[in-house]
């Protein structure tokens, strides 16, 4: 299949399947699994096509820009669509066992809508469709986060909703200013024009602020830990792995294409908040007594690395671009695995206090190993994907002459080691507990597979960088 067929299908397939899951309450789990498999097939076909042709575009329904919807794929978007598609079946597999019938129906429909928004966002070719997909992503993510139904989850979802709407509207105001100045919304038509437009700097500032809020980048991360920690485990995994990455992808794309990597001050500011986020939120993770909050703060800390990589792209070029992609993909896999594994422990123990996970390794070896494996990637130890990504990030920092970033990245790795060992210590140690009801095996295997993939990813760094291609 060519790009012209694949691009619309990658949006339509999960959308149609999500609606079907709502219409077929009994078959929602099966629909979700079949849809995930189909989505993976489409994503693999797109990656293969982009790897040979270098990418392409399609105007949906034959309507050209400006009134039509342009979809485009390049190495970065194909890679992100592919990693989304790789995580989805495992989260779906975990969810078929984790939810009761009524919940599963809404989970399946919302998760497929969430994937529709992600695929659309990664493939959208103009600023307004990016806004629509951002909003779809935010709304489906909020609804997913509220699925647990506890007052804490509802309150956290409401705060999440207000934060995500504010972020989208700041982005949309930036889009309105750009349209006023340039008269087009198409990313290709706008390429390189941003800095020269009247009001271009204000538009960029609004868009960046909105996207950083939506991505929960330090110091705008206040809404993330309660929302991700109070959600049900498959939802936490999907949100922490995927939802916060999409705004960062958009930030990088906007900056590189429309604004041409302009203004050294932007790079300095991004490097500063990225570094502060890595250090501050790693320490916050260390101080948590609830396992899911620890993992949520770890997400904000790891987002700091992605912001550091973005900050280095204009100076260090392809090295930083590769670091961004590798760090992103390995965090998606490691964090999805870690949240599912911690969710398994919490479900079995009926709480998520870290000091209460005594000797759980005897009963749940796969989930405990998943925590250790995901930890290897988060710490950045070889041969994990986290190691390859951090290695490229260090090279980029050295190439840019920013030696202090090397110190920050290494300190962040050490802090990650300490908070992961805090989880592992209680999981593997402590006094024996009586046997509780065992969990379905697939819940453990899903977590273990994701975490294992994050470790093995280091061996796939070369093909991934080949698919990614150069900086656009």
């Amino acid at each position: 299949m060519t790009v012209t067929v694949l691009l619309p299908l990658l949006v339509l397939w999960p959308l149609a399947a999500g609606l079907l899951a709502l219409l077929l309450p009994r078959g929602a789990g099966t629909t979700l699994l079949v849809a995930s498999a189909g989505n993976l097939g489409l994503a693999l076909a797109l990656a293969a096509d982009v790897a040979t042709t270098g990418g392409g575009g399609h105007s949906v329904g034959g309507w050209a820009v400006p009134l039509g919807i342009a979809l485009r794929a390049d190495g970065l978007s194909a890679l992100l669509v592919l990693v989304t598609a790789l995580v989805l079946p495992l989260i779906a597999l975990h969810a078929t066992a984790a939810y009761a019938d009524a919940e599963r129906r809404y989970f399946a429909a919302l998760l497929l809508l969430f994937v529709t928004a992600l695929n659309g966002l990664f493939l959208a070719g103009d600023l307004f469709n990016l806004y629509v997909t951002l909003e779809l992503l935010g709304l489906s993510a909020v609804a997913l986060a509220a699925l647990g139904g506890s007052p804490a989850a509802l309150l956290a979802s409401l705060r999440y909703l207000l934060a995500t709407l504010t972020g989208s509207l700041a982005y949309l105001l930036g889009v309105a200013l750009l349209y006023r100045a340039a008269g087009t919304l198409d990313l290709l038509a706008l390429a390189g024009q941003g800095p020269g437009l009247p009001g271009g700097a204000l538009a960029f500032a609004l868009m960046v602020a909105g996207l950083l809020l939506k991505a929960a980048v330090f110091p705008l991360h206040f809404w993330l830990p309660p929302a991700h920690a109070n959600a049900t485990p498959p939802v936490s995994a999907a949100l922490s792995a995927l939802a916060v990455k999409a705004p960062l992808y958009l930030l990088l794309r906007l900056w590189l294409t429309v604004f041409d990597g302009a203004w050294p001050l932007v790079a300095e500011l991004l490097a500063a908040i990225g570094a502060a986020g890595v250090l501050w939120c790693s320490v916050q993770a260390l101080l948590q007594t609830r396992a899911k909050l620890l993992v949520a703060y770890s997400t904000v800390a790891q987002l700091g690395y992605l912001v550091l990589a973005i900050a280095l792209v204009p100076v260090a070029g392809a090295t930083a671009y590769g670091a961004f992609a590798l760090l992103l993909v390995s965090h998606v896999l490691a964090k999805a695995g870690l949240f599912l594994a911690v969710g398994n422990l919490a479900r079995r123990a009926r709480h998520d206090r870290i000091d209460g996970f005594e000797r759980v390794v005897q009963h749940m070896p796969l989930s405990a190993s998943a925590i250790a494996l995901a930890g290897v990637s988060l710490m950045g130890l070889p041969p994990s994907g986290g190691f390859s990504g951090k290695w490229l990030l260090l090279q980029a920092a050295i190439a840019a002459g920013d030696w202090w970033l090397v110190a920050v990245a290494l300190t962040g790795g050490l802090l990650a080691a300490v908070y992961i060992f805090k989880l592992i210590e209680h999981t593997f140690g402590g006094s024996d507990r009586p046997e509780a009801t065992p969990l379905p095996r697939r819940m453990e295997w899903a977590a273990f597979t994701l975490a294992g993939a994050a470790v093995l990813l280091g061996f796939l760094a070369q093909p991934m960088l080949a698919l990614l291609g150069g900086v656009p």
Partner: protein, 98 residues
């Protein structure tokens, strides 16, 4: 100053006012309203930026309104479920997903 510039500046002011209300308001309902006003301010800027006869901004604003309605509905639903007594939780959960 042309009318279009005036509308754009008004839109910018309204955005700042709404953002201020969002930050200082205590009740979640007031915050949700503040976000709605913020959305309207952005629509004002979008329409003010339209060249005569350019249909695109209207199309964008209509899409934006649809998104705003959906977001407000979701927010109100979350607020209602938070306010509902725990006994009604199962029916509320059923309605929330429809």
């Amino acid at each position: 100053m042309t009318a279009a510039t005036l509308y754009a500046i008004l839109g910018g002011l309204l955005f700042c006012l709404a953002f201020h209300a969002l930050v200082v308001a205590g009740h979640p309902l007031r915050r949700l309203l503040a976000v709605n006003v913020m959305g309207s301010s952005v629509f004002l800027v979008l329409v003010a930026g339209a060249a005569p006869g350019d249909p695109l901004p209207q199309a964008l604003v209509i899409t934006g309104i649809v998104v705003a309605v959906a977001a407000t509905a979701l927010g109100l639903n979350l607020l209602l479920r938070l306010a509902a007594p725990p006994a009604d939780d199962t029916t509320a959960a059923g309605e929330a997903g429809e």
